[in-house]
Amino acid sequence: GAGVSQSPSNKVTEKGKDVELRCDPISGHTALYWYRQSLGQGLEFLIYFQGNSAPDKSGLPSDRFSAERTGGSVSTLTIQRTQQEDSAVYLCASSQGAGGLKFFGPGSRLTVL
């Protein structure tokens, strides 16, 4: 595609529910990142995928968070049993080679009531 796309744009859910956030990277980009941005904060690294290598999950804040990337393209971030502190904007980015982290998706704003 022309850019990184994410869905949903906004999601409001009740505490305890599970949510799935989707990211479509730029076609041909082998690297895919998920970040979280809480209100007034910088971007917090969550997980990194590179090609067929094992992902770096070191940024996932708890075992309620998981992510997968199917076929080296689309990625889904799943948050189980959501908590109010999970409310944030979840940003996806993709890159190719050593060109730097230049392409972010529009983000998914999650609000947990």
Binding site: G42, L43, L101
Partner: protein, 110 residues
């Protein structure tokens, strides 16, 4: 611990003013420094700097890196209301490790 610090946290100026935003860093393995403009949700890439003393310029925006003193500045001249945004700085400290500052919120008044 690697860290990136931006200053000021926020800034209010009038159209036509020139602003300078600061980004300082402490990382164990510096590869590059990136600047972004964030208006709503998605950060938009502005510059990537790898070498000291070489200014990158795009229209009214410019940026320079000082690897000896471990900082970068982003200059915006003749500011416009459309420049109002959060400006983020990030340092690449590994193949895929990017450390972000908390940003500078710029508001340009008409």
């Amino acid at each position: 611990e690697d860290k990136v610090v931006q200053s000021p946290l926020s800034l209010v100026v009038h159209e036509g003013d020139t602003v300078t935003l600061n980004c300082s860093y402490e990382v164990t393995n510096f590869r590059s420094l990136l600047w972004y403009k964030q208006e709503k949700k998605a950060p938009t890439f502005l510059f990537m700097l790898t070498s000291s003393g070489i200014e990158k310029k795009s229209g009214r925006l410019s940026s320079i890196l000082d690897k000896k003193e471990l900082f970068s500045i982003l200059n915006i001249t003749a500011t416009q209301t459309g420049d109002s945004a959060v400006y983020l700085c990030a340092v690449n400290s590994g193949t895929y490790k990017y450390i972000f500052g908390t940003g500078t919120r710029l508001k340009v008044l008409a």
